[in-house]
């Protein structure tokens, strides 16, 4: 009884993320929700729906930068709604929910390997690849390519204000891939030397545009201008039913522009950490469903939600 009362969705979610460094936010959210259903043990279908709905809302509100998290919650909600009426017997329905939720999680983990398998064709010998931000999907793809003896070089941006660039730099060095680190403002300088650009995604919007680490938009525009292919490497469970027209429409933890006086230099530089890249700058999305054009995202989402 005490366990059910003390259950906190946010803590569970964070715990999952902490325990497994390979876990992405949407998957952690699904895991947390599955755990919630198991622990709370609701007795009616309506109760389940309400429970998940309120928990998802709590989660989205308590976690800053909730885009990909929202994708996970959406998928689980959809999954629950579709499966609730499948079984007459409530107990088996619940069992089914929990089992399949876990199956979903394990399957999602495998999707990164699949992406690496699909995406390897996009990397060839002598390529110079620009990577912005740290994404597990991109990292695993690059590692997979290196393991297959493709000789390519990487340029990694610093990705301020987070130090994700450094993280990726170290990872690639460890894998034995020739890599160099540049400041974000140097992208324009080196874009002509680059063969292709790879980025990850926090979430993929309905239009096929990408929500990702801040700076992605600038990189994409530069790549577009230099006619370099710009690939987004992402798992399909990050497709989210959102349709931002610009960064204004994104749920932000901070104001995009803050003109009020701030004393410390650290807070001066800490703006929002995500931005939105419109679909016209994206060449293709490399996902576990295959290589998609941006317009195919909407198709996948429609299939996922309405069939």
């Amino acid at each position: 009884m005490s366990e059910t009362d003390n259950f906190n969705i946010t803590e569970t979610y964070l715990k999952f993320l902490e325990e497994d460094s390979e876990m992405t936010m949407p998957i952690a959210a699904i895991e947390a929700l599955v755990t919630l259903v198991r622990v709370k043990n609701p007795t009616t279908a309506a109760e389940v729906i309400n429970l998940i709905k309120s928990a998802a809302q709590d989660l989205v509100q308590s976690i800053p930068n909730s885009v990909s998290l929202r994708a996970g919650c959406d998928i689980f909600m959809r999954f629950v709604l579709r499966n609730l009426h499948l079984y007459g017997d409530w107990e088996s329905t619940k069992q089914h929910l929990i089992e399949n939720g876990q199956l979903f999680v394990s399957r999602a983990k495998m999707s990164r390997e699949k992406i690496a398998e699909i995406g390897i064709d996009f990397i060839s010998d002598d390529d110079i690849i620009l990577v912005h931000g740290f994404s597990r999907a991109v990292a695993s793809l690059l590692a997979h390519a290196a393991n297959n003896f493709i000789r390519f070089r990487c340029i990694v941006t610093e990705a301020r204000p987070t130090s994700q660039g450094k993280q990726l730099y170290e990872f690639l060095q460890e894998k034995g891939i020739p890599v160099t680190l540049i400041v974000d403002s140097a992208v324009g300088l080196i874009i002509d030397k680059v063969n292709k650009v790879f980025v990850g995604a926090e979430g993929v919007a309905e239009s096929g545009g990408v929500i990702n680490r801040v700076g992605t938009y600038s990189v994409s525009v530069l790549a577009h201008n230099a006619k370099k292919p710009f690939y987004v490497v992402t798992e399909s469970h990050k497709f989210v039913r959102m349709f931002p027209l610009a960064a204004d429409d994104l749920p932000m933890d901070r104001k995009i522009l803050d003109f009020s006086k701030i004393d410390s230099e650290a807070s001066l530089l800490s703006g929002p950490t995500i931005d939105y890249t419109a679909q016209e700058y994206i060449t293709a999305l490399i996902t576990d469903l295959g290589v998609l054009t941006p317009s195919a995202v909407s198709e996948e989402l429609i299939k996922m939600w309405y069939d």
Binding site: E206, L245, D248, D249, S298, I302
Partner: protein, 638 residues
């Protein structure tokens, strides 16, 4: 060939003459075939054609020989051949002449039409054509007692009498003419719209000159001016078919057709709603004939109704989609279901369809689009759209957002006035402007452009009120997001790359004078015909007065001089109108008489998908590229 030597041996001495005659005879026998020189044939390599020619010559020679054998001399033969040739020549000339005449007639016809139709849009039905068709059918439908199909064509005595009266150009006659058809038609048919129809009918018929030709099978009431539009054989054919099937037409449909034709019901959603309501009544009143079942016959019966509806205006995409759905529903009915049950079911389904696809869809769209609109933003809209009006009102009244709305409008319909009025009455800040000042509008700090739609095509093109593309493109140029609110019922399977191949032509007269008082009334085409008629009568009257009384003419000229002094040069330009005591006329008033001038008034245009950021439907917000996906996934339901 094998016989020739035999023949030759029999009449060996006559052979040379016969051979010499051969080419002539061959020519006479087959005027179409080019005569090949006989001598060359042997020398050259024999082609198939030459071989044939040779055979022919030989045959002719044989014939000549035979004739000679039977006692006709060579001279006689020559004379005969000559006579034959002459006769043929005459016939040919006659044929050519006839053909020329026909061509001339055709050209004349084309010339006549060319003045009313741009060659670019010549494949589209003009309003004149539609009006003529509708008149023919409408009169047949609404005065069933009076009209009959005779050998000469369909006669509608009611208006025919009005026509005969129209020959005398006096003002006193005018009044009586106007009343005659109205009264008698009203008697003839009980439908509520008859008076209106008769009025416009009379108006149009009065416009015509004194002689009216009767095109076989076509109503005689069609005025001279409109008759030209009926020259196309296909059109006449289709009208004939319609007239044959006129007994199938339900009165609700004919009244709806009329309302659509005079633009009383406009907008693709209202048109679709009205049609569905009419269909409910039609289905309720439907009786299955003996020997067939409802599921088989009703579709056919509805097709007749739809045929008539098409005459009013081309069917909107929404109507097309609804009809397709309804036909499918009918075909799915189990033949064993009793009729009354099936009919009740269908009516309920139609009601549900309208509710689900239009009302609930609108609610979802409003809900969805509201997420997009931020407090304090400025929105540009074009024309009038019901869902957009509702959306803005929902945001200002329910969600208490402070919005500024710029309603962009255009000639000749000024639809935006309606939307601007509705919004202003509900306390929304409205800026009303015409599309000509678009550039200034977009410098006003606009946040979004919201557009309505007539249809969205499979390739993501937006098919909407003419002018939409201009707005979308201007907005895109300034990086202002363009959003389209559109029910999925408006999605079309069609693919179209330009707005020429398929479009709708409106009355070019709408574009000529600007009637500031009542732009909507002008659409009904009632007023303009009446005005034109009055003007025409007046002109004739003045002319008659001039001819009859030379003295009065002088006086008039004196008056004219006075007026000239007063109004100086400005009056001089329109002196003719002044002389007749008319008000100032517009420059383009007589455009129909200018052979080189065409006025195009098209209703729709296409906006390419790259200018549209988002399409908001009841399925959520989608990029325009997802239209085919929705169509594919919901083929059954939409």
């Amino acid at each position: 060939m094998s016989e020739t030597p035999k023949d030759a041996s029999q009449t060996a001495n006559k052979k040379p003459e016969a051979a010499a005659q051969a080419p002539e005879a061959a020519k006479a026998a087959s005027p179409a075939a080019p005569a090949a020189p006989a001598g060359d044939a042997g020398a050259k390599k024999l082609s198939n054609k030459e071989l044939k020619e040779l055979k022919k010559q030989e045959k002719a020679a044989k014939r000549a020989a035979k004739k000679q054998a039977s006692g006709i001399t060579v001279e006689q033969q020559q004379v005969q051949a000559q006579a034959k040739r002459e006769k043929k020549q005459q016939q040919r000339e006659k044929q050519v002449q006839e053909q020329k005449k026909k061509e001339e007639k055709k050209r004349k016809l084309l010339d006549n039409k060319a003045t009313k139709k741009t060659s670019l849009f010549s494949h589209l039905e003009t309003t004149d054509e539609r009006r003529a068709t509708l008149l023919a059918i409408g009169s047949a439908l609404n005065s069933p007692r009076a009209s009959r199909i005779t050998a000469a064509g369909l006669m509608v005595p009611v208006v025919a009498s009005a026509l005969s009266g129209a020959q005398v150009y006096t003002t006193s006659n005018f009044a009586s003419e106007l009343t005659t058809p109205k009264d008698s038609s009203a008697d003839a048919a009980a439908a509520a719209n008859t008076v209106d129809l008769a009025k416009s009918l009379a108006n149009i018929s009065l416009e015509s000159t004194n002689e009216t030709n009767i095109v076989p099978g076509v109503s005689s009431i069609i005025p001279h001016a409109l008759e030209k539009s009926l020259e196309t054989p296909q059109l006449v054919q289709s009208i004939k078919e319609m007239l044959i099937n006129k007994d199938f037409i339900h009165p609700v449909i004919s009244s709806l057709t009329f309302n659509l034709a005079i633009y009383k019901i406009v907008g693709s959603i209202p048109r679709c709603m009205a049609m569905l309501e009419a269909f409910q009544i039609v289905i309720r009143d439907y009786q299955t004939p003996k020997g067939t079942t409802l599921s088989r016959n009703l579709t056919n019966y509805l097709s007749h109704q739809i045929d008539l509806l098409k005459r009013a205006r081309p069917l909107s995409v929404t109507m097309g989609n609804a009809i397709r759905w309804l036909k499918q529903e009918i075909s799915l009915i189990d033949p064993s279901t009793p009729d009354h049950e099936a009919k009740k079911d269908l009516c309920e389904k139609i009601g549900l369809f309208a509710k689900e696809k239009i009302e609930l869809a609108d609610q979802l769209i409003i809900e969805n689009a509201s997420n997009q609109i931020e407090d304090g933003s400025t929105i540009v809209t074009y024309g009038s759209s019901k869902v957009l009006t509702d959306l803005i009102l929902h945001n200002t009244q329910v969600l208490h957002k402070k919005l500024e709305v710029v309603v962009v409008d255009s000639r000749p319909l000024f639809e935006g006035k309606k939307m601007a009025t509705t919004l202003r009455e509900n306390g929304v800040n409205v800026v009303y402007t015409l599309i000509t000042s678009l550039d200034t509008v977009f410098n006003m700090g606009v946040d979004y452009v919201f557009l309505g739609a007539h249809s969205i095509l499979s390739n993501g093109f937006l098919y909407s009120r003419a002018g939409t593309a201009m707005i979308a493109m201007s907005a895109k140029r300034r990086n202002i997001p363009v959003l389209v609110c559109c029910e999925s019922l408006k999605f079309s399977q069609r693919v179209q790359l330009d707005s020429v191949t398929y479009n709708e032509l409106a009355d070019p007269n709408d574009l000529v004078p600007i009637d500031f008082e009542s732009p909507m009334e002008r659409r009904s085409n009632k007023g303009i015909l009446l005005k034109q008629f009055v003007k025409e009568r007046h002109e004739t009257k003045v002319q008659l007065a001039k001819e009859n009384a030379p003295k009065g003419n002088k006086q008039q000229q004196q008056q004219h001089k006075n007026a000239k002094d007063k109004n100086s040069k400005a009056a001089d330009a329109s002196s003719q109108a002044d002389a007749q005591g008319d008000q100032a006329s517009h420059v383009l008033d007589d455009w129909q008489k200018l052979a080189s001038l065409n006025i195009v008034n098209i209703l729709y245009d296409l906006t390419p998908p790259e200018y549209i950021n988002k399409v908001i439907t009841e399925f959520g917000a989608l990029p325009p590229s997802s239209v085919p996906v929705i169509l594919r996934e919901y083929k059954g339901s939409a």
